[in-house]
């Protein structure tokens, strides 16, 4: 109690800089995971990860099985896409994907046949302990696993065993600091054994000496479940760390600071600090891929928000339209309701519910306008109270930075470390003037990228135009030189032979005469 008072007065040090403690609204923390039925039509976008899009392997009319590869990866930063159930490909065309702009992407439409047959071409690798990590890594890639915490970064890339940057510690991220979301929480309670097994697999893959399962202290049942799973296998290289609840502790860099007290240097990755962070659901997916040969075809999604009559956690096939999922939970009319993809702090607002869920879909929230409005009021002038600076986990000065972004002073904004912002939204959350600070930072980042593009274009144009000028000048010089040469030879000839000129003049006439 004294500590919380000191914390309130700003005397005690927090596990990481800044942070906030919003109302967590974990309404679904005791709701067991339910299976979502198959929708009448799946829409599977050909890119569900950070990196290059895949190219379709199937054609309209093809029959596919659950877990069958339907789009192959193009390039290194990519993982393949798999069919969510057995059925028929009915069309391949562009469809809206989960993106705040409402943009579309080529998607494969699959009509389920209801049999839900699984592709069994990949066998389980029960003997993983004796296998080469590279082989396991290829399996993780083949099974299409990307970070299921929301970023969807291709997981196999992080599992590279690199002699230059050996991994000492694996941090299993069970923080789930976003309000409303409980999908990782429920997975830890219900599938603790698989998670621990998956963790052992990746420890083998990167040859890590120890692992920490980090869970916030508002999930005591998850902490207990993980501890029980650990004690039943008698492993002492894995430990469970209970951390005080604080947003954005689930952010990789903040979590590393909380657990180790060290910061990841700017421009470096956690692996340079000997740390590998993995999300709970991703590790479960790795376990299924190695032990059962299952490609990723579903994920746990929290369906919640004050507009959802029956909030819960669901195991949903990838490619299921959001409208179908909401309908399962009793929400059909979307008037006066905002749809959020992800949590309320970093999630994106969807313009309509006819969008499929993908690998990065952690939560589907439906919030009434009345509840969401206070967060989106018209902004008042900044009173420089400094609360934004206090809560920033990166130690930026958000109000000054936002001024520079708003005034298009992009160089100054970069000097105020705009590009270190992780867009966690803590500053906007506390701002008494309701200034959408993160929105200004996104604008600033976008403008900077645009200016850089224009600059590089201008640079190319300048080089091209300079090259052209140089070429023209060179040609002119060459011509002049040639002319001079001709003139010089003519002159020297005419000096030698004075009536040469007269001859030349007269020659056509002689020709005519002939």
């Amino acid at each position: 109690m004294i500590k919380s008072l000191l914390n309130k007065l700003g005397f005690a040090s927090a596990p990481f800089a800044g942070g906030i403690t919003p109302d967590m609204c974990k309404w679904t923390e005791n709701a067991a995971i339910e299976d979502c039925p198959l929708p009448p039509l799946f829409i599977v976008p050909i890119k569900q990860h950070i990196g290059q899009a895949c190219s379709p392997l199937v054609q309209v009319g093809d029959l596919v099985l659950r877990g069958q590869k339907i789009a192959k990866s193009e390039g290194y930063l990519s993982v393949p896409i798999h069919a969510p159930t057995s059925g028929k490909v009915i069309k391949i065309e562009e469809h809206a994907i989960p993106h705040p702009s409402g943009m579309g992407l080529t998607s494969i439409f699959i009509e389920p046949d209801g049999k839900d047959e699984r592709d069994t071409s990949l066998a389980g690798l029960d003997n993983w302990q004796t296998l080469d990590p590279a082989e396991l890594r290829e399996r993780v890639r083949l099974c299409g696993i990307a970070g299921l915490g929301g970023a969807a970064f291709p997981t196999f890339i992080k599992l590279l065993k690199d002699k230059r940057n050996p991994i000492e510690t694996i941090i299993l991220n069970g923080i789930e600091c976003e309000p409303f979301l409980t999908n990782d929480h429920r997975l830890m309670v219900e599938n603790s054994a698989e998670i621990v097994h998956g963790l052992q697999i990746i420890m083998h893959m990167v040859d890590a000496k120890k692992a920490i399962i980090a869970i916030e202290d508002n999930k005591l049942d998850a902490i207990n479940a993980m501890q029980q799973a650990l004690s039943s296998i008698g492993n002492d290289t894995i430990s469970v760390a209970s951390l005080p609840t604080r947003y954005p502790q689930g952010s990789e860099k903040q979590l590393i600071e909380s657990l180790t007290g060290k910061q990841v240097p700017i421009g470096k990755l956690p692996m340079h600090a000997g740390v590998l962070c993995q999300n709970i659901a991703t590790v479960k997916a790795i376990n299924d891929a190695i032990m059962l040969g299952y490609a990723i075809t579903d994920r746990i999604i929290t369906v919640s928000g004050d507009a959802v009559p029956k909030p819960t956690n669901m195991r949903v096939r990838l490619g299921t339209p959001m409208r179908f999922i909401y309908a399962q939970r009793g929400l059909e009319n979307f008037d006066g309701i905002q749809i959020l993809h992800g949590g309320p702090m970093m999630g994106e607002r969807m313009r309509h519910p006819d969008i499929p869920v993908v690998k990065s879909s952690t939560g589907l929230l439906a919030i009434t306008d009345a509840r969401i409005k206070p967060a989106h009021q018209v902004e008042d002038p900044c009173i420089r109270c400094g609360h934004c600076s206090e809560v920033c986990p990166i130690s930026l000065v958000p109000n000054l930075l936002a001024d520079h972004c708003r005034n298009d002073q992009l160089e100054k904004a970069a000097d105020y470390d705009l590009f270190d912002c992780i867009e966690c939204g803590a500053c906007s959350y506390v701002c008494p003037s309701h200034i959408p600070l993160v929105h200004y930072f996104r604008y600033g980042k976008g403008q900077t990228a645009q200016v850089r593009r224009e600059q590089s274009f201008a640079e190319v144009s300048r080089l091209r135009s300079e090259g052209r000028d140089a070429r023209l000048q060179r040609e002119k010089d060459e011509k002049a030189a040639k002319r001079r040469k001709v003139r010089d030879t003519l002159r020297s000839e005419s000096v030698l032979n004075p009536d040469n000129d007269a001859k030349a003049k007269t020659s056509p006439t002689t020709k005519d005469k002939e």
Binding site: P22, D23, V264, P265, D380, G386, S389, E390, V397, P432
Partner: protein, 354 residues
């Protein structure tokens, strides 16, 4: 109408209005002490200044063709309250009203309104008044609890007469109702060659009375206890942080301690400095004005130390007995520079440089 729908989609519920009313609430103990000391006069002055500030804000906004909604956000009312608490009780009503017009008109709206003023509006008005009307601004009424005053300020009619017609309208000589403030007393005595301890003994100075607020001075600056109650409330509510008040008061105390160790007969002791004049009022309520103070914690400590040094220097060597308000306004000038150079170290920067 939802203007933008960029994340985050939830909010803490804090607002400018809540912040301003919290500060007003925190000043209520000091207001009660002022009524205890100066009776109805304190009530009249506080209401007049608050009303004057809000009216000026309304006229200024109307004149500029802006929305008049900010009149009710509590910031103008707070400026009026703060201004009233820095005024001597005997000030003529029209001076107080003029001060309110200065505070909002010249201190705030000419810069573009809330959030854009470089100086604390209440303090800049206080300084304009002090420079323009030095006599009236340094005349201190004898507080009621001493029982020595020739007029009864608890009586509505006589307080109203003093308020509306001024001290010159009273049948009493000015000496019969006024006295010197502790800071002013020590300063005048020293100029006549009388040492600190002797001067304080002659004044009948008591640290306990100074702490509770049983002494003369501006309306709201006398009681350290009442101001500390309000200050701790603001700290607990997280409206202000400890950085500015602590560094401000501690700097004054340290300088006073060093000086009084060197020559206790000339320099007043640290506790006297901390309890005297407007130091605590300025440290907790003026210097922490978010608009005109630095944003970052390091900057706030630098700001507080600067305020402390200037306060002590003016009190010790300056022409005025009190320097806390000058210190705050002078340091306000330095805020953009402090903000620029006192930025916190960004995550991961320390590691990348080593």
């Amino acid at each position: 109408m939802l203007i933008h729908l960029s994340s985050p989609h939830i909010h803490s519920g804090d607002s400018i209005r809540a912040t301003m009313f919290a500060v007003i609430l925190a000043l209520i103990p000091a207001g009660i002490i002022s009524v205890y000391l100066f009776g109805w006069l304190a009530v009249f002055l506080i209401l007049l200044c608050m009303f004057g500030c809000m009216l000026t804000e309304f006229i200024a906004l109307k004149w500029m063709g802006r929305s008049t909604a900010p009149v009710m956000d509590g910031s103008a009312a707070l400026t009026g309250l703060l201004l009233a608490l820095t005024l001597p009780a005997s000030i003529p009503w029209w001076m107080a009203l003029l001060g309110s017009v200065f505070a909002i008109g010249l201190g705030k709206q000419v810069y573009g309104g809330l959030g854009y003023n470089p100086f604390n509006p209440a303090l800049s008005a206080r300084i304009i008044l002090l420079v323009s009307f030095p006599l009236q601004m340094t005349t201190w009424l004898i507080p009621m609890h001493l029982g020595m005053s020739a007029i009864d300020l608890y009586d509505f009619a006589s307080a109203w007469q003093l308020f509306t017609l001024g001290a010159s309208s009273l049948p009493h000589a000015l000496d019969a109702i006024t006295m010197a403030s502790p800071l002013g007393h020590v300063k005048t005595e020293w100029s006549q060659g009388i040492g600190v301890s002797e001067a304080l003994r002659a004044y009948d100075y008591s640290y306990l009375d100074a702490f509770i607020g049983r002494e003369t001075g501006s309306l709201g600056e006398t009681s350290a206890l009442a101001l500390l109650i309000g200050g701790i409330y603001l700290l607990a509510r997280h409206t202000i942080t400890w950085h500015i008040p602590f560094s401000f008061i501690a700097t004054v105390a340290v300088l006073a301690a060093i000086a009084s160790m060197i020559d206790p007969n000339h320099y007043t002791p640290p506790l006297f400095h901390m309890l005297a004049g407007g130091l605590i009022l300025c440290a907790f309520f003026m210097a922490t004005d978010p608009v005109s103070s630095p944003v970052t914690p390091v900057g706030q400590i630098v700001f507080g130390i600067g305020c402390g040094v200037i306060t002590w220097c003016i009190r010790t060597w300056g022409g005025y007995p009190e320097g806390a308000m000058f210190a705050v306004v002078l340091m306000n000038c330095a805020v953009p520079l402090i903000d620029h150079y006192c930025r916190p170290t960004v995550y991961g920067k320390r590691g990348s440089e080593s």
